[in-house]
């Protein structure tokens, strides 16, 4: 009996290529959590630079405000804030799952959809708010 199961398991096709796997939404939320975390890590030095500049006297403060108002930086800020919102919401979801809240598959799918929905809505609101459309 054990041997049959072992053979069956061996015959299954293996798709390690992430692009070929049709991922369930719960897996998408998980991988996006990692990607948004990586993005935030890469943005971190820029945030520290901005903090340092804003505390380098009056001139530095004015310069930091000026830089933060340029279009590329505004886009970067939106991108960063959306990453933070997503990473935070998905993180709260994982913490709740850790304490057995939303652990079953139906609830896990719904909370995954809610996390993505709130992120998309906040992104749209941010873009509207910043560009003043």
């Amino acid at each position: 009996m054990e041997k049959v199961i072992y053979n069956k398991a061996k015959q299954r096709p293996k798709f390690i290529n992430l692009l070929k796997i049709r991922m369930p939404i719960t897996a998408v939320v998980s991988i996006l959590h990692r990607i948004s975390g990586l993005i935030l890590f890469l943005v971190l030095p820029l945030i520290i630079y901005g903090l340092g500049l804003s505390l380098q006297g009056r001139d530095g403060f004015e310069q930091a405000i000026l830089i933060s108002k340029s279009t590329p930086v505004q886009l970067l800020i939106i991108f960063t804030v959306v990453s933070v919102i997503y990473h935070l919401l998905a993180g709260i979801r994982f913490l709740l799952i850790d304490i057995d809240i939303g652990l079953n598959i139906v609830a896990a799918r719904w909370t995954a959809i809610i996390v993505i929905l709130i992120t998309v809505i906040s992104m749209v609101l941010l873009v509207i708010g910043v560009t003043g459309l």
Partner: protein, 114 residues
């Protein structure tokens, strides 16, 4: 520290740092949104030199560094299989985190008024 204990300790630290970062982010965002009207340099400087805000912000960054270290370590262990490449990436990330840690400490502690 036992080998078995390492994974659990990292797992726990990841969650404790997450809770601090999360609560800090929400509280700080609300405070900023309430006082958004044209903050002057003097106000900004005075706010960040207050011991409570200064130290809690520094701890916020330290929590992020810890969280980042555990998170990137998990990602690298999952996706990067060659041991040499793993070590190079981990060393690069560790170096980056140490530099940022010293950098932000210098920035914040230089304005701290006790």
């Amino acid at each position: 520290m036992s080998v078995q204990g390492q994974g659990f300790r990292a797992w726990l630290l990841q969650r404790i740092s997450a809770v601090y970062i999360g609560i800090y982010l929400v509280v700080a965002s609300v405070c900023i949104m309430i006082n958004i009207d044209n903050v002057s340099y003097v106000q900004w400087q005075q706010m960040l030199s207050t011991p409570f805000i200064n130290i809690s912000l520094l701890l916020f960054f330290y929590a992020i560094f810890l969280h980042t270290w555990i998170g990137s370590r998990d990602i690298i262990i999952d996706y990067v299989k060659p041991v040499s490449l793993r070590l190079v990436l981990l060393a690069a990330i560790a170096l980056g985190i140490i530099v940022m840690l010293l950098w932000v400490s210098l920035i914040l502690l230089s304005v701290l008024q006790l």
